[in-house]
């Protein structure tokens, strides 16, 4: 008993010698696979849906044929709670210095790098991407995070302006964060698409409520584990899983949501959300992921950040 316990972990650590490789293990141990309970991410915690509902996603990679995993099916109230959390986290996140936000987002990239294999494995299982393609997507995602981390204390200088006015005033405009941004993440690519959607909003000082890809919520939730173990404050990023058509309309009407970022192929849903957002004059951006080249550097341009800032113009008297 003791020898068996001793042997197994030590053997996995040590570099196996030729002799050991040829010697069959004394007893073959079978162990049950420990499956992960996937949970949504809100307020820095991993939570189930308050509704207690789940939906299933299968493993399409062929490694564990027929197995499915339960993913929380978010409800209207989960959406409401997430907005409340994001709204509460906004003052802290937008109040940090731009430099500090950049450091925190860079740290997120570092953690993703350390967990790249896991993220790639999730992409492989959920979307059937080959090893090379999955790794390439993870690497592109990490690079995108770092790119936006770099933007953090630079975009303000490029967006702000000193405006010529006919009068004794110094007139200038500066970008400020908007508040809570609700995002429908692209179904595909599930990781690079998610990162491309939320990073511009986060780097601008907004907090996010995201509905993850319905097709591959697993990778989004693994990404959340990277967020949770980097220095991103609780509540800055909140990721729900489930049906966009169920939760998004409530986010579109919610008075505390400042902007809607819709990455969806569903024209009818997008139109419905745009109409619902009119009541609170939200800023709405619609993108159609299938028409976008996600490897393009245009997705990390200044223009992507500009969508999520509010310009404040100040008139300051001079010469009096």
């Amino acid at each position: 008993m003791n020898s068996e316990l001793d042997a197994t972990p030590a053997a996995s650590l040590a570099v196996a010698t030729q002799a050991e490789l040829q010697t069959p293990a004394p007893t073959e141990r079978r162990r049950l696979r420990v499956q992960k309970t996937y949970k949504m991410f809100a307020g820095g915690q991993f939570i189930r849906s308050e509704s207690g509902r789940y939906f299933q996603v299968t493993d399409v990679s062929g490694a564990t044929t027929g197995e499915a995993e339960n993913i929380p099916l978010a409800s209207r109230k989960d959406g409401r709670d997430a907005v409340k959390i994001a709204h509460g986290a906004w003052a802290g996140w937008s109040g940090k210095t731009a430099y500090n936000r950049g450091q925190i987002l860079y740290r997120l990239g570092e953690v993703m790098e350390a967990r790249a294999a896991e993220l790639a494995h999730d992409l492989h299982r959920s979307l059937g991407l080959s090893g090379d393609l999955a790794r390439a997507e993870v690497e592109a995602s990490i690079d995108r995070v770092l790119s936006f981390a770099g933007w953090s204390d630079k975009f303000q200088a490029l967006l702000c302006s000193s405006n010529p006015v006919a009068g004794p005033h110094f007139n200038f405009s500066v970008p400020e964060p908007m508040g809570v941004v609700a995002t429908l993440a692209p179904r595909r690519p599930s990781l690079l698409g998610l990162v491309s959607a939320i990073l511009p909003a986060l780097v601008a000082g907004n907090t996010c409520v995201v509905l993850a890809s319905e097709e591959d919520p697993r990778t989004a939730l693994s990404f959340c584990e990277c967020v949770a173990t980097s220095d991103v404050p609780a509540g800055v990023l909140n990721v729900l899983t489930g049906k966009a058509s169920e939760v998004a309309p409530h986010l579109a009407r919610h008075q505390e949501v400042a902007a809607l970022d819709l990455w969806t192929e569903d024209d009818a849903l997008a139109r419905q959300l745009e109409e619902l957002a009119v009541g609170t004059v939200k800023r709405v951006r619609r993108r159609t992921p299938s028409t976008i080249d996600f490897s393009s550097s245009s997705l990390e341009s200044l223009a992507t950040i500009e969508r999520f800032v509010e310009m404040k113009t100040v008139w300051h008297p001079v010469g009096v």
Binding site: H250, R253, H254, Q255, E256, G279, T280
Partner: protein, 308 residues
């Protein structure tokens, strides 16, 4: 409980001990009563009632006549778009702000409550505390929120606690007396129960959990203990004493939880602003947000509601 006038001055004799409280039962029952599923129409009715039960409170050192006037405006018409909501039960202020509130609420039926008796500690000589009460009543307050001397209560000087309440009641004249037990400082449910019994025997019209200045303030469990004391007092004397949980009640959901506790402990007779009040400042906006959510179907934002 003796129903004769007490030689000490209060209407009923000083109770030297109270029935023990089963902590586990009280806490479990209080939690269980918060798990009711309250459907839309009932919820709206409950929230509208909660608005009318509110003692809209501002008790800060920085209170000014302007702030009190704007609070009174909100008390009269909590939601500018819907005149059928409110008005609230009372506005609760410090004595110096009473004349401002009386002027602003004249003829509206909204009561003016004033804290008194060296609020929030109550640690001043009794003549000063009584003078505090008389001045507040002279200024026009028709409800007085007094604090008990918690030090006296904890060191077993029950007669002193009783006497102070009885004399404060006398100083109130026609004004209603609410007795703040400051349950967060009393330590155990048994002490809360005993303090409730003493306050009611000494002439309190309302018993109130907290000043709002320390935590924990009102909790469902401590409220349940006090409501059971009120129930037993009613069975013994036939007098209906009011209840006011205060401090830490911030959400509409909590307010409905308290209403369920009241209904299940004392029945519909107590579901009126004359016998149940919420001491709160931030609760009102959350209730209004929920009412608007039910009316419009859209979740509301804080920025769309006036702060005071």
């Amino acid at each position: 409980m003796a129903m004769v006038s007490s030689p000490r001055g209060g209407p009923y004799a000083l109770p030297f001990r109270s029935p023990p409280v089963d902590q586990v039962y009280v806490e479990e029952r209080a939690v269980a009563l918060g798990k009711r599923s309250i459907k839309k129409e009932t919820k709206v009715a409950g929230l509208r009632l909660a608005v009318r039960m509110m003692d809209l409170t501002t008790l800060e050192g920085k209170d000014s006549p302007g702030k009190v006037r704007s609070l009174c405006a909100k008390a009269l018409r909590p939601l500018d778009t819907d005149p059928t909501i409110g008005p609230v039960g009372a506005v609760c202020v410090y004595p110096n702000m009473v004349p401002v509130a009386v002027e602003a609420l004249k003829g509206s039926g909204v009561h003016v409550a004033s804290v008194a008796t060296a609020f929030p500690s109550g640690l001043s000589p009794l003549p000063i505390k009584l003078e505090d009460v008389r001045r507040a009543v002279d200024f026009g307050a028709d409800e007085i929120d007094m604090v008990i001397d918690r030090g006296a209560m904890l060191s077993g000087e029950y007669a002193r606690v009783y006497d102070e309440i009885a004399q404060t009641k006398e100083a109130c004249g026609a004004a209603h007396l609410k007795v703040i037990l400051e349950t967060g400082e009393l330590g155990t449910y048994d002490t809360v129960r005993h303090a409730s019994d003493i306050a009611m025997a000494a002439g309190a019209d309302f018993i109130k959990t907290s000043t709002g200045k320390i935590t924990p303030a009102a909790t469902p469990a401590v409220t349940l203990v006090m409501l059971e004391a009120i129930r037993d007092f009613f069975y013994a004397t036939g007098r209906r004493i009011g209840m006011k949980p205060a401090g830490g009640i911030r959400t509409a959901k909590q307010a409905l939880h308290y209403l369920v506790i009241v209904k299940e402990t004392l029945g519909d007779a107590w579901l009126t602003p004359d016998l149940f009040r919420f001491g709160a400042s931030t609760l009102l906006n959350d209730v209004l947000m929920q009412l608007e959510k039910e009316r419009t179907g859209a979740y509301q934002g804080q920025d769309y509601f006036s702060k005071d």
